[in-house]
């Protein structure tokens, strides 16, 4: 305990544990992960980055829709996932492939969603559907956690969102509710410096995003989002606080969006390549590999094995997602309400009859 209680987001430097060259700068805060665990974490990073790149190439080949890459966000999402439980509830925005997977969503379901099928949002994990609209879902996480508190359940909720989302009214309203009602939720902001073409400096005149928590009476803390040890340390504390009844925390994880905003975007139009190149040395995956190398726990052979295993898992997920039955026309009506309304009944009958008569579609 202590990092969050003593945090001053107006003046603190962001919390860092492992620097970008793979040296521990605050060893006391470092999780006691053994080499085997570290190698597993690294493997997940490689694997999820490959899954991410796969969705980009599927989109290019017309096999999937627009997709927002998570490249660069792996430490934020994997690190925060390791600090919570599978029974906790996740409320993602859209750039959240890794956290959804880590919390138990099957990769094929995640793929299916981006391929444009609603069944991709129907998974067994405690993960809410992707929220494409910016800023609204932290309120859902707040409400859900409110209920968990009322029901005396031990679980917490976490909403994930970007720097841009902190400009919305709903974001403040969620923090304000959470503050007033002492709600066991965590607001996890991945500040990747950009909201499409808008740099964070045009999003707010505040020095940090973490300080936005102060006005709502909850703690805010800035952490190096490319440092999985730092993310884990801060997230562990926030989650413990929430479970102990101490209420919500805003975590601003400072990271970088290496890719385009989505496959429909061309960042060259507004962002100098020089900036991206300069940020490469802060890549969260690189940092972990440097640490493994220092510990003699990484070599080319291991890397090749990791890539081979990951490729196979990604391939299998694509196959399953593409093999998922295509939606039937009736489905667009069947899930609007618990029971079909008379108007929908009529419209459905019309469409099915029309397709049979004119389009020979089932």
């Amino acid at each position: 305990m202590g990092l969050i209680d003593s945090a001053n987001p107006l003046s603190d430097k962001m919390i860092q544990v492992l620097d970008h060259e793979g040296n521990f700068v605050r060893p006391a805060l470092a999780a006691k992960w053994d080499d085997k665990t570290l190698r597993e974490i690294y493997e997940n990073m490689v694997f999820l980055r490959m899954a991410d790149q796969k969705l980009i190439s599927l989109q290019r080949q017309g096999r999937s829709g627009s997709y927002p890459s998570i490249e660069g966000h792996e430490a934020c999402q994997i690190g925060s996932s390791l600090a919570i439980k599978k029974t906790d509830w996740i409320f993602p925005a859209f750039r959240e492939l890794a956290i959804c997977y880590m919390q138990g969503m099957e990769l094929e379901k995640i793929f299916l969603y981006w391929m444009g099928n609603e069944w991709g949002s129907n998974a067994a994990a405690n993960v809410f559907p992707v929220s494409i609209t910016v800023g609204g879902h932290p309120l859902h996480a707040t409400g859900y956690a409110w209920a968990l508190k009322l029901q005396k359940k031990p679980d917490i909720t976490v909403s994930y969102f970007g720097d841009g989302a902190t400009s919305t009214g709903d974001f403040y309203e969620a923090m304000n509710f959470a503050g007033v009602l002492k709600i066991p939720t965590i607001f996890f902001c991945q500040n990747n410096q950009w909201a499409i073409s808008t740099p964070c400096s045009k999003q707010t005149a505040a020095k940090t995003l973490a300080q936005k928590a102060l006005a709502c009476g909850i703690p805010g803390i800035q952490v190096d989002g490319n440092d999985i040890f730092a993310v884990y340390a801060v997230m562990s504390e926030a989650s413990e606080r929430a479970r102990k009844g101490l209420g919500a925390t805003l975590i601003e994880a400072v990271t970088y969006r290496f890719g385009n905003h989505t496959t429909a975007d061309d960042a060259k139009k507004y962002r100098p390549q020089k900036e991206v190149d300069a940020m490469r040395k802060f890549d969260p995956m690189l940092r972990l590999r440097l640490l493994l190398q220092k510990k003699n726990a990484w070599d080319e052979k291991f890397e090749k094995e990791v890539i081979a295993r990951s490729e196979e898992k990604v391939r299998a997920a694509v196959e399953k997602a593409e093999g998922f039955p295509k939606p039937k026309p009736k489905e667009i009506f069947d899930y609007l309400y618990e029971k079909l309304t008379p108007a929908l009944e009529e419209q459905k009958a019309y469409l099915l009859n029309h397709l049979k008569t004119y389009c020979s579609t089932p």
């Binding site: 391929m115 009214g169 073409s197 489905e331 008569t357 004119y358």
Partner: protein
Amino acid sequence: MALLTIAEALNQALLQEMTNDNRVMILGEDVGQDGGVFRITDGLLQKFGEERVADTPISESGIVGAAIGLAAAGMRPVAEIQFDGFVYPAFDQLICHAARMRNRSRGKYSCPIVVRFPYSGGVRALEHHSESMEVLYIHTPGLKVVCPSTPYDAKGLLIAAIRCPDPVIFMEPKRLYRSLKEDVPEESYEIPLGQARVMIEGTDATVIAWGSMVPIALKAQASFAKENVSLEIIDLRTLSPLDTETILNSVKKTGRCVVIQEGPRTCGLAAEISALIMEKALFDLKSPVERVTGFDVIPPLLQAEDFNIPDDKRLIAGIRKVLA
């Protein structure tokens, strides 16, 4: 004259209005360096600077609310909302304030803003990027609603909207942004709000369309022409106020009418038009008015999107029904 797409025509309209009137300014998400995600404001930042082309924080309520203040103080803000599905956070500002300023103050204040956004589906986009909810704005007293379907109209209507002393919702059919080109005069011109256009004259039935559905109406017209059935095609262009005269004159002439609408069926503009015809031209009708519409469903994700959007097959079936 130059052959322009709708996207280019809109860009030209903005450029000319900003050149002619230094009160005109643009605000919205990614409208500056990026030129908007559909590039409608491309090049305007370079020409007019950050004061007149303002990238805003992500806050639709902020964009529209600030535009109301800017307009009241004498500016002519053109607000861009990035997609149809992202207007909703601004509804309090639009419905409770923009639409009411004039009436509330008995004319002391007015609200000459334009709120532009791309609408319509069919581009294989993500959720919230494919909506056709014009009826929400039409149903709001105090707002005008414009929806062009051609490059020529897009330019003239946007200029008229910017010059309009009242708040205008300007809906741009995104799937037509770059799908067709047309000769557009270089000089600035207005197409008066509130006037529909008879695109093709005909005698056997009237087809009423707007925005994204107009090309489908034209396709159906061409196909019926081969069977010597003469359809009259009306592009509404302005959805509020509605040009009831053009609609009624046409229906009185043809005696048959089909309205095609991309948005959900219940309480859509097609329903309003059908009620209008029932009230004012019932005894001229040879068959009931037919509506071909989207269903009362959430726009499906891309794999099922086509099941919902009316196409030429559905329109042709509807037209056959009124001709029978």
